[in-house]
């Protein structure tokens, strides 16, 4: 392989990319970047884009609209960045750009040069006129190694990625011997981002030493945790970084075939990655004889049918083989005997996307972030009761407190923090006392949670931990493939017990059974799904035992969440004479008028939907919720009372 030849070929591609970027700049017209990934589209980005187009043509203003991927700021969607160099302002980021705001932006900013300060989230560059986004914790505490280009480039335009430094990692890798490359990854300390944190370098080495033809790389994009969407975002926002990582990995282990496994529920991700493969093949960065070398890589996309368990690597392989997605016993590990019996490396989307920056910038640079045992960054999708939910990439070792309270803005509505669920349904719930735990593979596992693939649900005081555990067990119970006894039957009975407790029918023996059953499921299950399924129960039992006990012994739900254990009543002191709002909204006509023309709730009829509490005007705030339900004073309905 001739290195000079190789770099020369890439240099010509790079020149083309630079020329295109330069031409764009020289046009000197405004550029409107609209976040058009799934989250943006869900909050109306398509309509926003249409509004921009219409307004621009109405006013006859020349501007370029560039659909880009996700920036991770889900709370502010639809997000729009307008780069209007003629005005002298830096590129400005606008939040919640609805159709009306889009028209206004065209009218004011693009036409007249007034940047409409009230919609501004921040400027993308430091300047004297507008506060930069980097002044906000949500931006400056993040450390974007993997998601650096997400939301900044058009995912469908390979040249934008190349102009931003893309594919140079692959070129650098191709100049190395595969052996050196694996050494590089091994020294970088990169650990698998799929959840378990297995060192990526070691996995690659195992596969590279396996003596067999036709090795395969599978990119695991079967993201199924409730509330997690990191992989989707990367696939939609910067597919080329993933493909570059895939190619580097294939070169290192000697594979000539790669499969990107994406859920069919991610149609945009599927479309984007397919388009990216095609355009990369078009410039000989994928396909046969990459950049004129002897290295070839055929990349295809496989759409999964949405079984959670297919995220487990052996089940994923079964599913590609056209079989029922059921996990297999390991060993043999896929690196020895995987898809079609060949050595197979299965790496997560985030792991593979971390590879190009490592190769490009060196291991020292990578180890500069994160901790000794978990270098690099972690990407979380933080959802639940936080002010600024969204995708966050932070350095490993950052504390949970920083992430939740500083980066994501803390708990909204003046509520207090109760727990955080990390690692999806297989992770655990950590209470406030663990807020200073650093986020890395080992610390989280020690605390009883796990890194998982990066889902994080923050819960405030209104969350009942028994109910949360029940929710997650309900999920894993349904998603169990049904192969091994404990996962199939054990989780079902965990759910039965939790159902009983949340219905106020629990007994003290149930607590003991929960514990032993959970331990046995952990011990006896075949795959990771079963082994980790009881984690929400175990951690909530460990940290929130008092809540379980309150449910069982006092018939009380401390968070006032479990329907069977709560009751609504109307405080006659506060209730306004003559107000009929609650009566009108009650779906079961449980609210009646008392003798003093105030309202009361018939507990026998009440279904505890809570509508009355919502509609009661804040100046009265007369509807109260109590647990246990016996605390609600009962008012007898008069025979003629409605």
């Amino acid at each position: 392989m001739n290195k000079d030849d190789l770099t020369e070929r890439f240099a010509s591609i790079l020149r083309r990319a630079d020329r295109r970027a330069r031409e764009r700049r020289n046009e000197a017209i405004p550029t409107i970047y609209i976040v058009m990934s799934t989250c943006g589209l869900a909050s109306g980005a398509a309509e926003t884009k249409q509004a921009f187009e219409e307004a621009l043509s109405d006013k006859d203003i020349g501007a370029r609209i560039v659909p880009v991927g996700c920036l991770g700021h889900c709370y502010a969607e639809p997000l729009v960045v307008i780069d209007h160099p003629a005005t002298g302002f830096p590129p400005i980021c606008y939040h919640q750009v609805t159709v009306a705001r889009a028209r206004r932006l065209v009218r004011s900013y693009l036409e007249k040069g007034d940047p409409v300060f009230e919609y501004v989230l921040g400027a993308l560059e430091e300047n004297d006129l507008i506060p930069a986004v980097t002044d906000f914790a949500r931006f400056n505490l993040e450390q974007r190694l993997v998601m650096e280009h997400c939301g900044r480039i058009d995912p469908d335009d390979i040249y934008q990625y190349i102009a931003a430094g893309g594919y140079s990692g692959l070129v650098k890798a191709l100049c190395l011997e595969p052996e050196e490359l694996i050494d590089e990854i091994e020294t970088s300390g990169l650990r698998g981002r799929g959840g378990a944190g297995f060192p990526a370098g070691r996995k690659w080495r195992l596969a590279s030493t396996a003596k067999a033809d036709g090795k395969i790389i599978i990119c695991n994009g079967d993201e199924g945790d409730p509330g997690a969407y990191m992989d989707r975002t990367i696939l939609e926002s910067n597919p080329h970084q993933l493909l570059e990582g895939l190619a580097i990995c294939a070169y290192a282990v000697g594979a000539d075939q790669a499969i990107v496994y994406v859920r069919a529920e991610y149609p945009l991700a599927v479309k984007t990655i397919k388009g990216a493969i095609k355009s990369a093949e078009g410039v000989a960065l994928l396909g046969s004889t990459i950049l004129g070398t002897t290295f070839s890589l055929n990349v295809s996309v496989f759409q999964g049918s949405g079984a959670f368990v297919c995220g487990e690597e052996t089940a994923l392989i079964q599913s590609i083989e056209g079989k029922r997605g059921m996990p297999q016993h390991r060993p043999p590990y896929p690196v020895e005997k995987g898809l079609w019996g060949r050595p197979t490396v299965v790496n997560n989307v985030k792991t593979l996307s971390s590879v190009p920056p490592i190769i490009k910038n060196g291991t020292e640079w990578f180890r500069g972030s994160g901790t000794e045992t978990s270098p690099g960054t972690a990407i979380f999708s933080v959802v639940g009761n936080v002010k600024h939910p969204g995708l966050v990439e932070i350095a490993m070792g950052t504390s949970l407190r920083t992430l939740i309270f500083d980066v994501c803005g803390g708990i909204p509505n003046k509520k207090s923090f109760k727990a955080v669920q990390i690692g999806g349904p297989s992770g655990g719930c950590l209470p406030e006392s663990f807020l200073d735990t650093p986020i890395d593979f080992d610390s989280l596992t020690q605390a009883g949670a796990m890194m998982g693939s990066g889902g994080m649900v923050v819960m405030d005081e209104d969350s009942c931990m028994v109910d949360v555990a029940r929710y997650f067990i309900d999920f894993t119970q349904k998603e169990s493939c049904g192969k091994c006894t404990f996962c199939r039957i054990g989780t079902r009975h965990l759910l039965n017990i939790l159902d009983r407790i949340t219905n106020g029918e629990g007994s003290e023996q149930d607590l003991e059974l929960l514990g032993t059953l959970s331990e046995d499921i952990k011990l006896g299950s075949l795959c990771g799904l079963g082994e980790t399924a009881p984690n929400p129960v175990l951690t909530s039992l460990r940290y929130f035992l008092d809540e379980y006990e309150a449910h069982i012994k006092e018939n009380r739900c401390p968070a006032h969440k479990c329907r069977a254990l709560t009751a609504f009543y109307i405080d006659l002191e506060k209730c306004a004479r003559g107000c009929e709002v609650c009566v009108g909204c009650c779906p079961v006509e449980a609210i009646f008028t008392t003798r003093g023309r105030k309202k009361a709730i018939d507990q026998k009829l009440c279904v505890k939907c809570g509508e009355c509490a919502v509609v009661c005007p804040p100046e009265y705030d007369a509807v109260l919720k109590v647990s246990p339900p016996e605390l609600a004073p009962t008012l007898e309905r008069t025979p003629d009372g409605k």
Binding site: A307, R324, Q328, H329, Q477, K478, E479, S480, C481, G482, K483, C484, T485, F486, R488, I489, G490, T491, R492, H493, N496, I497, R500, Q509, L513, L517, D520, L523, G524, L526
Partner: protein, 835 residues
């Protein structure tokens, strides 16, 4: 070879042995539900957990998933492991309906055993049980999903092992369901095995439902005589009725499974219409009276027309004792025969096959599973010997290639390559394939005759153009494989094929391959018949002699003349002509009904017997029960059954060989001795191949394989090219009579259950022929044969040879009107019947 310590005992096992298997070799039975030796391990049930104390794995692990490694120390009795297993059982029982009292599996249920031995008794978890709607799976298997413990054995057997797709896993999590997409009769002919492998009562044996518990039965090992493979079974009888048959493990023959024809083919033994009294001219008489009558009449005929006026006809389904005894009597009395075959060409083919099965070439059914290239010539495994198809499936499943050269529309439950050529081309294509794989030097090494033989094989250009490339590719594969096996049928193939197959196997063997030869034969004891069969005369000459009045008496043992003979009218005339027709049988066949004197004889289950399967394996079936009319039949529902008389009602039938001896005025051996004991020496004198047979009580379980002497002289001596083959007939279709899995076999058709799974008989022809005749699938057609019209519906198939018409010898078709064979059916003889 790793060394492993299990429960303080050390054992050395081959690399790759699972710990659960290593333990079995120490006679330690680790509990299991999902693990099955034939199906392998999946790690679903978790009940085989043991404690790994030392070695690469530590703690409680599944013994079915872990290969034995050096330095492993395993405890099956460790408290933690025992506790864990107990917990698994508890979990499994949470959803089990506890309906053992009404479950047919109760008493031989693995789950029941494990639950009781695990000590589980009290349900600690509340909550409702998961329930399912059961399906109708046909007349053979009863479905009861609520009992399921999800071991996945059924779907693994049905889909992975057997290759059928219509039963499998559906849904997920706690709702996992095993069954079909919708109610319906299971498509596979191996469904009975589901009842055997299910560790609980999800699939139970439907015909024997509610009849008894296993401990109620008289159970004995037995053999299947519904085809030539000789699979091992366990037969169960209750109240003088044979009620159930299960697969019996055999290392060499059938492994763990049997086909449905074998499993449910026993109903003739307790059939309501089974004749149990001796008949003279249709009148029931005492047994000894019938003997006297026959002896008297035979003496008369012998006196007037000479002993050769008495002819004997034996059968392929008779035991070796009966066959041998008939031959002895014939020799003593100078009677004609006995004949063993009604079709002379079949006799020749089988004799060739028997002679050419050299010890080094023969493979057993289990050995065939190891083959990496199977070339089947003139064999239709699913229809002729279903278990052969299952064995071929195993070979295919582990990467072997299966090629079938046959004109019929062959179906196999797996991927295979089919060369649909005409019958007279079968030899050619077999030879072309081998020639393309074997080089001249190799052939020359085998001597001049082999070289000349090789020389006579035409080049590949002789093959039809579309097949040339396929043959070349396959030959290339054949050249690279290590363990090729040629499977050769003996029924439809030309006279020359069995010998040719043997020659071709020798050529392959010369390429340093571990080569095998596997013949299929038409009956359970065809091999025995072939060894005893003499060169004197054929059935057609016998028929002519009867017509000419030279033969006046015919003794037929355990054969229905009408079953496989194509000219019914002629047989009827002949029976008219005979002075005496003596029939010995255990079924009420047409021949039996037309007999002058009839002797009821014992079935296999009452008499036992020695049978030689198609690979020359001599196997013994012991007695299962004493016989007699089933209580259900003779009590007429009365309770208690009142029948007045001496002895067991309906127990008159005796072993056929005894009747034969008595007819021949011979002396019966003393009671405790069997016929085999008395004939063994005589057999050995007649044919040295029998010399080393052990006494009947010392037979190994898998029998003894006979090793016929090497017949070097007949190697490569065949001049098959000059055989006159019918030229392609432009104005007609060559008629091929075939067997089907269900509906064409003489004994299994008495099973009311199998009758329900029979397909409607149909004629098959190639699309091009159908187009020419303006016919399509489903049309009702009639063929005008010399004996009358035969009507059947038509199946048009692409995967068969053109120029042939295939007709099953189905019980519902009057194919015996054909009259003459071979037969070309002219196009004008085929007409569409408007409905």
């Amino acid at each position: 070879m790793p060394n492993i310590v299990i429960d303080d005992r050390e054992i050395e096992v081959p690399a790759g042995t699972k710990v659960i298997d290593a333990a079995r070799q120490l006679d330690i039975m680790i509990p299991r539900f999902c693990y099955h030796v034939a199906l392998g391990s999946v790690g679903a049930c978790r009940v085989c957990a043991v404690k790994f104390v030392e070695g690469p794995f530590k703690g409680v692990q599944m013994s079915c998933m872990i290969d034995a490694k050096d330095g492993m120390v395993v405890s099956t009795t460790d408290e933690e492991a025992v506790e864990f297993r107990k917990y698994v059982i508890e979990c499994l029982m949470l959803h089990h309906p506890h309906d053992c009292p009404v479950c047919d599996e109760g008493g031989h249920c693995l789950l029941q055993d494990m639950t009781i031995s695990g000590g589980h008794g009290i349900r600690r978890y509340l909550g409702s049980k998961r329930t399912y709607r059961d399906q109708y799976l046909g007349p053979l298997v009863q479905h009861e999903m609520n009992r399921c413990i999800h071991c996945y054995r059924c779907s693994r057997f049905y889909q992975e092992f057997a290759g059928y797709r219509d039963l499998g896993v559906m849904q997920s999590a706690n709702r996992v369901f095993f069954g079909r997409y919708e109610d319906g009769i299971l498509e596979s002919p191996f469904t009975g095995n589901l009842s055997d492998i299910c560790p609980t009562g999800v699939y139970t044996d439907k015909p024997s439902r509610f009849i008894g518990r296993r401990w109620d039965y008289e159970r004995s090992p037995s053999l299947c005589i519904n085809c030539s493979l000789g699979c091992h079974t366990v037969a169960s009888a209750r109240y003088r009725q044979l009620v159930r048959q299960e697969a019996r493990y055999s290392e060499e023959v059938n492994g763990y499974f049997i086909c449905d024809r074998g499993r449910y083919g026993f109903f003739y033994a307790s059939h309501e219409k089974r004749p149990r009294r001796a008949l003279v001219e249709g009148e029931e008489v005492a047994y000894h009276q019938a003997i006297d009558t026959v002896r008297e009449k035979l003496a008369q005929i012998s006196g007037s027309a000479g002993p050769e006026a008495i002819a004997c006809l034996s059968s392929e389904r008779s035991s070796l004792e009966t066959q041998a005894m008939l031959k002895r009597v014939c020799q003593n009395k100078n009677w004609s025969g006995p004949l063993f075959f009604m079709e002379q060409s079949l006799a020749e083919k089988v004799k060739t096959a028997t002679a050419r099965l050299e010890p080094g070439l023969t493979v057993s059914l289990r050995e065939l599973e190891q083959a990496d290239f199977i070339l089947a010539v003139g064999a239709d495994p699913i229809n002729e010997a279903p278990m052969l198809a299952l064995a071929m499936r195993q070979a295919q499943r582990f990467g072997g290639r299966v090629v079938v050269i046959d004109p019929r529309p062959i179906f196999l439950p797996f991927d295979f390559q089919h060369l649909p050529v005409r019958l007279h081309e079968v030899d050619l294509y077999l030879s072309l394939m081998i020639k393309a794989a074997v080089d001249r030097e190799t052939a020359t090494e085998l001597g001049p005759s082999a070289a000349e033989f090789y020389q006579t094989i035409p080049t590949l250009e002789t093959a039809a153009v579309p097949l040339q490339e396929q043959i070349a590719t396959l030959a290339q594969e054949l050249r690279g494989c290590q363990r090729p096996v040629i499977v050769c049928g003996t029924e439809v193939v030309p006279q020359t094929t069995p010998a040719l197959a043997a020659d071709q196997v020798l050529l392959l063997k010369a390429m340093d391959k571990q080569t095998g030869l596997f013949y299929l034969m038409p009956g359970a004891n065809t091999f025995g018949a072939s060894l005893l069969s003499g060169d004197d005369g054929s059935f057609s000459t016998t028929l002519e002699s009867i017509e000419k009045g030279k033969i006046k008496a015919l003794i037929v043992t355990e054969r229905d003349l009408f079953w496989k003979y194509q000219n019914k009218q002629r047989l009827e005339r002949i029976i008219e002509k005979l002075d005496l027709l003596v029939v010995l049988d255990y079924v009420d066949s047409e021949t039996a009904q037309k007999s002058d004197v009839f002797f009821p004889v014992s079935s296999l289950y009452e008499a036992g017997g020695v049978f030689i399967n198609q690979e020359g394996r001599v196997q013994v079936a012991p007695k299962v029960y004493l016989g007699g009319t089933p209580i259900k039949q003779n009590s007429g529902g009365g309770h208690p059954p009142r029948v007045y008389g001496v002895g067991i009602p309906g127990s008159e039938p005796r072993p056929a060989w005894q009747v034969v001896v008595e007819i021949g005025n011979g002396e019966l051996p003393p009671d405790e001795e069997t016929a085999f004991a008395t004939t063994r020496k005589w057999l050995a004198e007649g044919n040295p191949v029998f010399a080393n047979l052990p006494p009947i009580d010392q037979f190994p379980d898998d029998g003894v394989r006979l090793g016929p002497a090497l017949d070097v002289g007949s190697r490569f001596s065949l001049d098959w090219q000059t055989e006159r083959h019918p030229k392609r007939n432009s104005d007609g279709l060559e008629l091929i009579l075939v067997d089907w899995t269900f509906g064409t076999e003489e004994l299994s058709i008495y099973s009311p259950h199998l009758r329900q799974v029979e397909k409607e008989p149909c004629l098959s022809m190639h699309t091009s022929d159908a187009v020419r005749l303006g016919l399509s699938s489903g049309d009702k057609v009639a063929i005008r044969f010399d004996g009358g019209r035969v009507e059947a519906s038509l199946c048009v198939a692409e995967n068969m040879a053109s120029g042939v018409i295939v007709m099953p010898r189905h019980r519902l078709l009057e194919w015996q009107k054909i009259k003459e064979l071979p037969r070309i059916v002219r196009f004008e003889e085929i007409e569409k019947v408007s409905v």
